[in-house]
Symmetry: C2
Subunit: 195 residues, 2 copies
């Protein structure tokens, strides 16, 4: 399987590694397997990423940055509708039987280095912060009842989405991330309606 168009090989390495980590974990993927997929030799990868940990950290960073960009490009509607749209980012992942890269790395926590861990922590922190911001807006606009613990609610949504990808792949139910988010937003709206 030769390498397609003229994309920078560094980017292709990261993309294919991302998929492989989602499939078999950070320990399960190898330079050899990655090289085969791309039709190059394994030592060539060392030229771009000196160690495997370098590559994994780069994968995590790119995922975090790309995801942030995807979130920025979500349609800006009502705050709770934005969270529904946000869930479709995870559903898109589920449709290819993939996990969130950061969830996948988190599952192999003791097998990765400090730089990678810092990226994963940053990813979860950024996503929680974004959700908190939407939830705060929802309180201000009256969509969401006052008095709810915004931070815990944000963690609930993120946990739910990360976990749903694990379960969706095992069950073959790619619609799970959207379904459960729809239910949760329904629940919080109901709470607001009766506040």
């Amino acid at each position: 399987m030769a390498r397609p168009s003229g994309r920078p090989i560094r980017d292709e390495l990261i993309d294919v590694a991302t998929q492989m980590i989602s499939d078999v974990g950070v320990t399960g993927f190898s330079y050899g397997g990655l090289a085969k997929q791309l039709g190059i030799s394994a030592p060539t990868i060392h030229h771009h990423f000196k160690t495997k940990e370098d590559l994994i950290a780069a994968v995590a960073e790119k995922y975090r940055l790309d995801f942030a960009e995807s979130v920025r490009q979500l349609p800006t509607t009502d705050p709770l509708d934005q969270i529904t749209s946000y869930a479709t980012l995870f559903a898109r992942t589920a449709e290819t039987d993939s996990l969130c890269l950061c969830g996948a790395v988190s599952a192999d926590w003791l097998a990765v280095g400090e730089r990678t861990r810092a990226e994963i922590e940053a990813f979860f922190a950024e996503q929680t912060t974004w959700l908190e911001a939407r939830l705060t807006e929802a309180v201000e606009s009256g969509e969401l009842a006052e008095g709810l613990p915004i931070g815990t609610l944000a963690s609930t949504i993120l946990s739910m989405l990360e976990g749903s990808l694990l379960i969706a792949r095992a069950n073959g139910d790619a619609g799970l991330p959207v379904d459960i988010t729809a239910l949760l937003t329904h629940l919080v709206r109901t709470g607001a309606a009766n506040a």
Copy 2:
């Protein structure tokens, strides 16, 4: 590190392997590392589990059965309170920086064999079924509003708990599983109060 008391070595192998899989994934743990931990030689393990896949499948099965037993032993109170107790099973896991074994294996889905996958699927199915039963009871007792999609709500809770373990370990926040479950049960109770 020699092996403690007179417990069957087969059980000890499964227990230590369970912890290692939670730490570094199914590909990251090895017969060599497992042997070292227990103070035995690696080939000895082959005597008890002919292949690594045999061991992984046994680990998954024992986890599923032990978890079912833990669930059966939860105090039988109000249905929604039982779900709160249920969450403490996950919190206990988080306190040792561990994942649910089935969540950990699910993260390395393409790296395990059919028997193991069947165990994981069965675990998720059993847990979902248990949650559905409690939720149905909660509707009957008036704790929970009628009309909610019970199956989706059960999947929401399980997804939430599985995902919270991933995030709790990265964040060092072992209280997460309980906090988010408390919030969710609060949300559904609120819904019932206003139904």
